[in-house]
Point group: C2
Chain length 135, copies 2
Amino acid sequence: MGDPTTETTTDPETASENYPPDVFSRACTSRVVLQHISGRWGALTLSALRDEPLRFNALRRRIDGISEKMLSQTLQALERDGFVVREVQATIPPRVEYSLTPLGTTVAGRLWELIGLLESSMDQVSAAQQAYDAR
Amino acid sequence: MGDPTTETTTDPETASENYPPDVFSRACTSRVVLQHISGRWGALTLSALRDEPLRFNALRRRIDGISEKMLSQTLQALERDGFVVREVQATIPPRVEYSLTPLGTTVAGRLWELIGLLESSMDQVSAAQQAYDAR
DNA sequence: CTGTATCCTCTCTGATACTG
DNA sequence: CAGTATCAGAGAGGATACAG
């Protein structure tokens, strides 16, 4: 990666310059962001913040199985991307609240729809998996 | 986890009534599937198949930067989950076509919406990133 | 309470080579 | 054309310890 010569490749066969955005291009910056919001922890973190702002350890309890390190890392990425706001209250003990930005709320909504769709399809998916494994 | 002081938690044993599904639970099987469809290559692969069935190398060209191995692996996972159909035509040279199942089509649609939303928000995201890095 | 730092493991990923 | 096999490096992820 990081090859400076590879700009948008001129696809010889798929003469589809008319395609929406070039999300399929290696250089597409949104790929990284997509990873942040849809990665193993990103989607769950954004979804967890959909209803209400939460503090660090509350988030940690909500997202079962996430480690401190990953939660911290995930939140930093989401904050940098502008999906999450980190608000520090100067109290003792320190109190940090995480909430969604308007953009984050929109994204989290879509994500939640996707998760809901997946959840309601898990029967189908499980059946497909069993059928596949039976072969 | 079993913290009695946690906010308005539902009863641990009967937690499958009020809240949608417990996607936040470590044991939730849909987490893995979510990884497949939203992982680095899954989302792009499903999106690439939205318009039309494609063959292996056509997909490879379409999804810039994916290796043979990763494409193969991604397609296998998506097929096992029941999102993608693999159809082998007994010709010479071999011709294998990948297409979406109805479920796959639905999921890919949601995914595409999410990607579209992200694409149209990249200005905001980039600005947020620069602001973040400036600190 | 809210994290960061460190170490260590394991998976993911890509390049290469090879099969049918 | 459509993959599989193998190997090595990069990065994700977790446990623990420690800091503000």
